[in-house]
């Protein structure tokens, strides 16, 4: 369809066309990824690895005896060529790595296949006559050490390759009578190597507190690590895809279909919630901002300050307060409504499936609209006023101006914000957990409570709050299933981000706004 044909269509057909073309483009998008991007990616990696091996071969062939010795002793080539600082640092790293590998790393790696052999053993102390327990293998520490060992090995290989490269470089410089002194290396840390200084501490934090735990939890998804297998008393074990099967109701057993039903419900609610929470806040916030920014409205600063003040109250205070304010029996809102004669019976704001869902979305609006208002009013002021003026002269109604000027401009400018906000809402722990706590509990078709083990899942639980309950508040904790849920959240978020980013790139290529 050409642009002219598209523009000649009536509005509803245009919308329909856009709708269809969006969904039609999704398979093509994935097809492109699988046929082009992924093969290209692997070919690129293969080429790089081949290059590295070829370089190592060259280092060995071209290198003198110092470089050749560097293959075994890291930093030897550098040290003997008067680059002492680097040489010593490389050597120290190698020593530390080998120490870690010999004392902890290799033994952990050997045992990781079965998570150790014996958890605890006991013997009767011949003198006291009491049975004494000694802990042998700690599955948790085994897995942790293996991950650390793996990461250290990657770093080791990288540094090993780098020092070889440096050694050969120095060797070549020596031939023409030059060298790199330690002074220059230190100086380069505030020059061309400044990024190492800037990023080293944040990266260290990222690796220790984010990347290692993430790798750990992803691996835990394939184990039966739960509160039943508390280390160090018992070993946990690899269970393959059992946790995935359990979540999707394929694990067998009486309760498996109930579990899958609850998971499906929570997934649907998570997505519904994210859509409603994002768009109600966005549009209503924008409307409020437009009302405040309207020409001829006075006390603009007062209205804005009132709303900003509510942002300043910490969210958890507002949420906990609301959870009490809306409570069925001793909440003030029910009482006010009763006194005014609007209702005759207390409304179960936080105890009834559908009503609670609506309540949660409305309270989220109460929390979120001031924030969106603040964001929008800044951007609204940036819209070129002559656009409105010319539209007014052409006789456009206010609504038309909104639909044709304000909205497209806002969507264009805040598109990325909408995506990140949507993702943020999928993981919006505070609003759900502090307000409704995920309640009310699930009931089956007959209206009875589901008795089987659901890890405290409630009807307003999001995936993230369910994950939290599974790991924290329940007596029976199951870290394996919890990490499967975490991986699932990742998949959902990644899919949404991929699609929208690719679409928004397409939008950008069509030319900027105006």
């Amino acid at each position: 369809m050409t642009t002219i044909e598209y523009l000649s269509l009536p509005l509803h057909k245009r919308l329909f066309h856009k709708f269809i073309s969006f969904f039609a483009s999704i398979p093509m998008f994935f097809a492109k990824i699988f046929t082009k991007k992924i093969p290209q990616f692997f070919v690129g990696i293969y080429k790089k690895i081949a290059q590295v091996f070829f370089n190592i071969y060259l280092f060995f062939v071209d290198g003198d005896f110092k470089t050749k010795l560097s293959f075994v002793f890291m930093g030897f080539g550098l040290f003997t060529r008067k680059s002492f600082l680097r040489g010593i640092l490389y050597f120290l790293f190698q020593a530390a790595y080998i120490y870690f590998a010999v004392t902890i790393g290799i033994s952990s790696l050997m045992k990781i296949g079965t998570f150790g052999h014996i958890a605890q053993s006991s013997y009767v102390d011949p003198i006291v006559g009491i049975e004494i327990y000694t802990y042998q293998d700690d599955s948790f520490m085994l897995l942790l050490n293996t991950i650390i060992f793996a990461i250290l090995t990657c770093v080791y290989v990288f540094l090993w390759y780098n020092q070889l490269k440096d050694s050969v470089e120095l060797q070549n410089l020596h031939r023409i009578g030059k060298t790199i002194k330690d002074k220059e290396i230190v100086k380069s840390l505030v020059g061309k190597n400044y990024h190492y200084v800037m990023l080293s501490i944040p990266t260290l934090g990222l690796i220790i507190f984010t990347i290692i735990p993430l790798i750990f939890m992803i691996l835990v998804a394939f184990t039966n690590y739960s509160s039943q297998f508390q280390q160090p008393k018992e070993l946990f074990d690899w269970v393959g895809s059992y946790n995935f099967k359990k979540l999707f109701g394929l694990a067998g057993g009486a309760a498996s279909h109930e579990f899958a039903y609850v998971f499906g419900q929570i997934l649907i609610w998570t997505l519904t919630w994210a859509v409603f929470a994002t768009f109600t806040n966005y549009f209503l916030g924008m409307i409020v901002a437009m009302l405040i920014n309207k020409k001829g409205i006075r006390l603009k600063k007062l209205w804005r300050t009132i709303l900003i003040t509510t942002i300043a109250v910490p969210q958890f205070i507002s949420l906990l307060f609301m959870s009490r304010f809306l409570s069925t029996n001793d909440g003030a809102l029910n009482q006010i409504l009763l006194d005014l004669g609007i209702i005759t019976q207390n409304i179960k704001f936080l105890e009834d499936g559908i009503i609670t869902k609506i309540t949660v979305i409305v309270v989220n609006m109460w929390i979120g609209i001031p924030y969106t208002m603040l964001m929008c009013s800044g951007i609204l002021m940036n819209i070129p006023q002559d656009l409105y003026e010319s539209a007014r002269i052409d006789g456009a109604s206010p609504f038309k101006m909104y639909a044709k000027i304000t909205l497209p401009y806002m969507l264009f400018v805040t598109g990325p914000y909408l995506i990140s906000n949507f993702v943020g809402n999928i993981n919006n722990f505070n609003v759900i957990y502090l307000l409704s706590g995920g309640n009310p509990q699930f009931t089956n078709v007959k209206g009875q409570m589901i008795q089987s083990q659901l890890f405290g899942a409630g009807q307003t639980d999001l995936l993230i709050t369910w994950l939290y309950k599974m790991c924290m508040t329940q007596v029976e904790k199951d870290y394996g299933v919890a990490s499967v849920i975490g991986i699932f959240v990742f998949v959902v978020v990644a899919t949404f981000s991929l699609i929208t980013y690719s679409r928004s790139n397409a939008v950008k290529n069509e030319g900027d706004f105006q």
Partner: protein, 318 residues
């Protein structure tokens, strides 16, 4: 020629569209404005009244849903939060509130953590944002992509493991526990680089070049040239880094692991409201809410401009 006889001379009034000239237009304008004022008033009331109610309840002697404005006013709720000698009727028994729920301790924890985190996190975030914005290194784009991917995992996923790691190095109980919590908060600093990077991108690169010609190294450029120009984004980052641990429930509850001396205010007050399922805890909760809100309110009041700037800039750049 006859046709032009009836042609009126053109006046400027007819040429230029002017609202003020038409009386009907002016009336319409006024009536819509009145409508807008009404709507804005209602909106303001909806947003403000619950907080007014919260403040009123914090002075109430006892809570009952029927009474909107307390009949008996008292400061006991505030006293109970801090005074360890103050006995009061609570949940139908006489007890010292501050012993069971050490609010003073929670507040101290929160303030300390927020102060330390706001300084450290701001420095680390700005450093990484600067690196991503200005420094050209080979793995820059790959690193940013990695952060994007890591950010898609729910942050809580690795939290249990982080807790056990902290336990291994004895950073999970007592005062070291607070230090552990600080580490958890600041470890993600590099992932917040986006807004500040957007800001640094807007600072002209010719400044860097000029400084470099004058013999400054990159360290000097960062601290002496870029930082003094980045006051708005520094204040915004500090504000966010200060308020985030102030209101965090998820991570704090994991690290505290049920030890009430390690709670921050969010975890503590949530425990208070869920454990005291009756009505007795509510006025004290309200009093605590008022106390917790005041510092943040004051900060916002003075730094509003910076906050608005940061929010708007962040939204535009995504």
């Amino acid at each position: 020629m006859k046709r032009f006889k009836y042609l009126k001379p053109i006046k400027s009034k007819d040429l230029f569209y002017n609202e003020k000239n038409s009386r009907g237009m002016r009336f319409k304008q006024k009536s819509t404005n009145v409508l807008v004022y009404i709507v804005l008033t209602i909106i303001s009331l909806i947003w403000v009244l619950p907080f007014v109610y919260l403040i009123l309840q914090s002075f109430a002697k006892s809570y009952s849903p029927q009474v909107l404005i307390p009949k008996e006013w008292t400061l006991d709720n505030y006293r109970a939060l801090f005074d360890t000698n103050f006995k009061m009727m609570f949940n139908n028994k006489e007890m010292v509130f501050a012993e069971v729920y050490p609010f003073g301790r929670w507040l101290l924890n929160t303030v300390l953590i927020a102060l330390v985190v706001s300084v450290l996190q701001t420095v680390l975030t700005l450093m990484s944002a600067y690196a991503f914005s200005r420094l050209n290194f080979g793995f820059r784009k790959k690193y940013m992509k990695l952060i994007l991917i890591i950010g898609m995992f729910p942050g809580f996923l690795g939290m249990i493991i982080t807790f056990y790691i902290l336990k291994q190095v004895n950073l999970s109980t007592g005062v070291p526990g607070l230090f552990g919590l600080v580490l958890v908060y600041i470890s993600g600093s590099v992932m917040n680089y986006y807004v500040s990077k957007g800001f640094f991108d807007t600072i002209s690169k010719s400044l860097d070049e000029a400084a470099m010609i004058d013999g400054a190294n990159k360290n000097t450029i960062f601290w002496r040239v870029i930082m003094p120009l980045s006051k708005p984004i520094i204040v915004y980052t500090i504000l966010l880094a200060f308020t985030a641990p102030w209101g965090d429930y998820m991570f704090a509850s994991v690290i505290a692991a049920g030890d009430s001396s390690l709670f921050n205010v969010a975890v503590g007050l949530q425990q208070l409201l869920t454990k005291e399922s009756g009505v007795s805890g509510f006025p004290i909760f309200c009093a605590a809410g008022v106390i917790v809100s005041i510092p943040i309110m004051t900060l916002f009041f003075f730094l509003q401009g910076y906050y608005v700037e940061g929010v708007t800039g962040g939204a535009v750049k995504g």
